[in-house]
């Protein structure tokens, strides 16, 4: 609802970014101009943590579409947000392999600590939580995606440390979890004899 209260006088997002607009539209052939829809939504969302009504109308104008068409596409996908998410958008993979590694408990913990449930953003705009489906990190479960980054094998203690870091605004770049054939410094040498090389920890 709050989206409808947005001031119509807000400056257009792409007005001062003509080069970016040309670059995005230029990726696609002339007959495929509409393909730019998803990248345009991404640009707005990365900057504003959601895509509000005014932006939807602006993108529709750029592509010669109606706002409802843009909204129809946007609402199909689970990673575009109609309302602002938090500065730390916590996305917890809830699918089977992660669930077997404690994703349900991970969700309960984060929800209790931040005071928000699935789909909510806190009052300060700091934390939001979204339960998501398989992130393709099943071998390094459970995975917590914070904004764009994957934090993998998030044990109880790692999760507590992450939360503390976010609260202090000193979250570090994610560690690169590897598993199976990808978990050795020099796989070429290590695998010369065809022996097993994975050293991934217990899930």
């Amino acid at each position: 609802m709050s989206a409808q209260l947005e001031l119509p006088t807000v400056a257009p997002f792409f007005a001062d970014k003509p080069d970016l607009l040309v670059e995005i539209l230029g990726r696609y052939p002339d007959y495929g101009r509409r393909s730019a829809l998803m990248p345009l939504l991404w640009e707005v969302q990365r900057a504003e943590r959601h895509v509000g009504e005014a932006r939807i109308a602006e993108i529709a104008d750029i592509l010669g579409l109606r706002a409802t068409e843009v909204k129809g596409v946007m609402s199909f996908y689970s990673t575009y947000h109609e309302h602002p998410v938090g500065a730390y958008h916590l996305q917890i993979c809830a699918t089977l392999s992660c669930s077997l590694a404690g994703a349900d408990e991970l969700y309960d913990y984060l929800s209790e600590e931040t005071g928000v449930v699935n789909g909510e953003t806190d009052r300060e705009g700091r934390f939001s939580i979204q339960k998501v489906e398989c992130l393709g990190s099943c071998g390094s479960a459970p995975v917590l995606q914070i904004n764009d980054d994957y934090y993998e094998r998030v044990t109880r203690s790692r999760c507590a440390a992450l939360l503390e870091a976010m609260r202090a605004d000193r979250l570090e770049a994610p560690w690169r979890e590897r598993s199976g054939d990808t978990d050795v410094a020099d796989p070429v040498a290590a695998r010369a004899d065809g022996s097993p090389s994975g050293t991934g920890g217990a899930p």
Partner: protein, 446 residues
């Protein structure tokens, strides 16, 4: 005739066969392996260079010789798919890379794109040349942001060095790639839904025919393959189709990436020749289960599970053996299910996934997968189910099979059916006692 068979060298079906070498995943996990200088130092783009000196039909023949089957899950022979393209005319043609990996239990493509993006690009160049496409579309799922960034850098590096653009690698072949980022929808892994999504539409699957070769991206002739398929093509062109066909079983050739997740000592991605056994993957490579197991899902969440027995663990991981066992190889994503996990709850997790991802286009899927079935599971798990409910559920999933545009409803129905086949007693225990055979527990490690 019989002599010829006897003389034929034994095919390679084990990772421990001394003739086997890791090729696809050679560089994944190595620091800096995503850069162009690293890739070229290790023979990168030589296969494409060689392919470009031959002819498109020679490339297709080589891929046919290799016996490569699509690695996205369906296992359709790649060379044959490529030959479906209509004769060249003035229309633009597209080669599309399906990098929307999102089948639960599958995570092999992500590592490729993060650590070895050039391998994917090289495969697309070769495939584009083979089918006469001067444009490629690489559709990567929205959550794979690092992969997207790495691919973007890789494509830019290729432009700077004449590997993409006009006159690829000094040849007369022009080729470029449009990198496109999805936004969180499993259905985009379905080829026609992916094309709709790329075109800026809602990702509803299209009715087939027409198939992508006739009307794909923007209604133009297109061929679409999985990330791993493109990577495989690179090695087939580098070492020859015969080298590839020396690995694997009669109907499943080559080397493949398998994934193991769930409670095992070393979960992860492992490259094995096709026809290796589950035992080799789960025990010899992944170190075996860390707690008693009762079942495993062989190839991603949609493939029917198998009970944990000596017999099933010794099954070779190839297309034919899986079909014979009543399941599918899928993406090769093995999920081990421990004894202590309530099977009804495990399958509800999978059902909930498909319910979330149903696009809502077809009635059996929208009403069955997305609405009714998860509610039935919720009823059971709340301790309110009856024996009649089980009959209704079995009937419902039967009616979800083969009744929608795309296989999503089937993908949801199959694991449910398998769980009823092997673990009906857990459902019955739940409805008779109002509580599961295996109580909910804390799975999170300290």
């Amino acid at each position: 005739m019989s002599d010829a068979v006897a003389d034929r060298p034994k095919p390679i079906v084990s990772r421990f066969d001394p003739r086997f070498e890791v090729t696809l995943y050679r560089h994944v996990g190595v620091a800096g392996s995503h850069t162009l200088p690293y890739y070229r130092e290790h023979g990168g783009y030589e296969a494409a260079k060689r392919a470009l000196t031959t002819s498109p039909s020679a490339v297709i023949d080589e891929v046919k010789t290799s016996g490569l089957r699509g690695r996205g899950g369906a296992g359709f022979p790649t060379g044959i798919k490529w030959s479906f393209m209509p004769p060249a005319d003035e229309r633009q043609r597209f080669i599309v890379c399906n990098a929307d990996e999102s089948e639960p239990g599958s995570f092999k493509d992500r590592y490729f794109m993060e650590d070895d993006p050039h391998q994917v690009i090289e495969g697309m160049i070769i495939a584009g040349f083979a089918i006469g496409a001067t444009r490629g579309v690489l559709y990567v799922r929205g959550e794979y942001y690092l992969a997207y960034e790495r691919l973007r850098e890789a494509i830019a590096a290729c432009h700077a060095e004449g590997i993409l653009g006009r006159g690829v690698l000094g040849s007369s072949f022009d080729f470029d790639i449009i990198l496109h980022r999805g936004a969180g929808a499993y259905i985009c892994g379905e080829e026609t839904a992916l094309m709709n999504s790329f075109e800026g539409l809602r990702a509803n699957p299209r009715l087939k025919p027409p198939f992508p070769a006739q009307a794909g991206v923007y209604g133009l002739p297109s061929t679409i393959n999985n990330v791993e398929t493109f990577a495989s093509v690179v090695h087939i062109m580098a070492k020859g189709g015969a080298w590839y066909a020396a690995m694997g079983t009669d109907d499943s050739k080559g080397t493949k990436l398998y994934q193991v997740s769930g409670p095992v000592a070393r979960p992860g991605v492992y490259e094995l020749p096709m026809g290796a056994t589950f035992r080799e993957l789960i025990f010899d490579l992944a170190g075996g289960p860390t707690m008693p197991a009762k079942a495993f899902i062989p190839g991603g969440s949609s493939t029917p599970m198998l009970p944990w027995t000596d017999e099933t663990l010794d099954l070779p991981m190839d297309y034919g053996s899986m079909a014979k066992a009543g399941t599918m190889l899928g993406t090769g994503g093995v999920i081990v299910i421990p004894e202590a996990k309530c099977m009804v709850d495990a399958i509800y997790n999978i059902v909930r996934f498909y319910a979330h991802e149903s696009c809502g286009k077809c009635t059996p899927c929208r009403e069955g997968v997305a609405t009714w079935l998860p509610k039935m599971y919720q009823k059971l798990l709340a301790g309110l189910g009856t024996r009649e409910d089980l009959v209704v559920m079995e009937d419902m999933v039967r009616n979800m099979r083969g009744t929608a545009f795309c296989p999503l409803a089937d993908a949801c129905a199959m694991p449910v059916q398998a769980s009823f086949k092997y673990f009906r007693h857990e459902y019955e225990h739940l409805v008779d006692h109002g509580e599961p055979l295996h109580a909910r527990r804390d799975w999170w490690s300290a």
